[in-house]
Amino acid sequence: MYPENYSYTKEHEWVSVEGGVGTIGITHHAQKELGDIVYVDLPKLGAALASHTTFGSVESVKAVSDIYSPVSGEVLEVNTLLATQPEKLNEDPHGVAWLVKIKLSAPDEVKSLMSAADYLKYIGA
């Protein structure tokens, strides 16, 4: 369920890094707690994200929740699929429903995040 090569935050985001580019999303646990997601608000291309600060929000039928960036960097790509099909975030949060891809400005930040095993322990799964 939780890919081993992803890193996780206490705010229930994940990041996977490949060649200096981080793909960021929210976890399966997060989507389950939020319930049916109806709208996703994401940053513009080129926006600068700072780790542990909000860069967007996810709206479910229950509530609007901020999304925090696990790492710092510049937005290279935004997942446009979510504008028309926010339900994908419920269906495949670790896959097709990634949120943004960013060029990491401080790749070492990833080291301070949780592993899949630690995250599972953290959410009590």
């Binding site: 049916d36 109806v38 039928v61 229950k62 509530a63």
Partner: protein, 501 residues
Amino acid sequence: MSLGKTVQILNQNEGLLFESSSPGKIGYQLPPLDVPAVDPRKVLGAGNTRDEITDFPEVSEVEVIRHFTRLSTWNYGIDLGLFPLGSCTMKYNPRVNELVARTEGLAWAHPYQPEDLSQGAMAITAELERAIGEITGMESVTLQPAAGAHGEMTGILVIRSYLEKQGNPRKIVLVPDSAHGTNPATAAMVGYEVRTLKSNDKGMVDPATLDAAMNEDVAAFMVTNPNTVGVFEENIVRIAGIVHAKGGQVYMDGANMNALVGIARPGDFGMDVMHLNLHKTMSTPHGGGGPGAGAVAARAHLEPYLPTPRLKQENGAWTWDYNRPDTIGKVRAFYGNFGVLVRALAYIMAHGGPGLRNATVDALLNANYLRKRLEPHFDLPYQSPSMHEVVFSHSRQEKRGVKTMDIAKRLIDYGFHPYTTAFPMIVPGAMMIEPTETEPKQELDLFVDAMTAIAKEIEADPEFVLKAPYNTRVSRVDETLAARKPVLRWRPQVPVSRAAD
């Protein structure tokens, strides 16, 4: 004998007014023009006129009357029964309020009337400020803000101006995780960074957590008391001490003031500035029933920063004082929602001091009665004593697949407006119930019967509850679809001839 609340009765269907339109039908015939015709384009300017109003419904008077009268029978309001929305204090609006507000001289008073013709209205305003000052234990009150969140913003702006005058507006506002969402929103709008404090296992602010977060960059701590779990912050004096020791200010969200009026005064337990939702605590109608009023009360050291103008008395006459160099400015045109202020004062004076205290005691009694009677059936996540509202969790029912929203929908079948679902956020699957003081025991018992019956239905057949409501005009709606693919307006069917153009 006990009657259930609902039966199946005849109830008129009604479409949209637009759908009952027939071309050429008119409600009124006007007499022929007996003055020279004027070209509106010349008088108003071409940009401000248009040739036709398209797609307006063409209906007769009786059709309009029936349309709105039928719709009015679909309403549920406090005048029909219990309205247990937690944190909202949906209390009954006593009719004396309306009687007073409709007094001719008050109802027809115009905000541009000169001061010497507005002395009565100004005296009423001043008297309400005095009463709120006494109830809150604060030296100064402004009635300008139009609603609770507006009052919050006014209060935090006042704190900011006060700190600025001391030389540093500071950067951070602390908010507990149980706060109303408007608190962090207010702080952010006033330009502060918001930091959230985790509540302790009693659902309260933890003084040690606050102490650790408090420093000289913190402008204010925003606290709701009793908090949104309906629990009195037992460390409130210590909390205020911790904030003041580092030069910060304490803002109290007065949304739950219905639990304190006549018993405890925020000014006495260390709060610096607060708002009072007059449309909650002082019974003026709300929830579509009328505009709000977010009176702000402040300790003397914050008075110079309150919105301008302020009422003052000169040679025995009331006048507006605009000479306030340190004010945050004006936050609303004129001076608050006057009609609401009149109702609030009527409520306060009709009760008097002992009566207001009685209302508070009854509000607490009603909430605790519901708590005791519902506790065997629903999980109570925080055992701390309840004040004016009680927050259950759906955790027991969730094991059968039924959540707070499902229970709320089934409650509609029993003839009640639902309680507040899913707030406060610190209680997973919250069911927040606030009966207010005005409910008689019979109505509370009917509510308990309904909730108990639903708990039993969930044990026997959860699927049945998941499909509720059954007795309503519109059965279970697909909220997710409505949010993902909203239909925001009615569109006429395009006539064939026009479609062919």
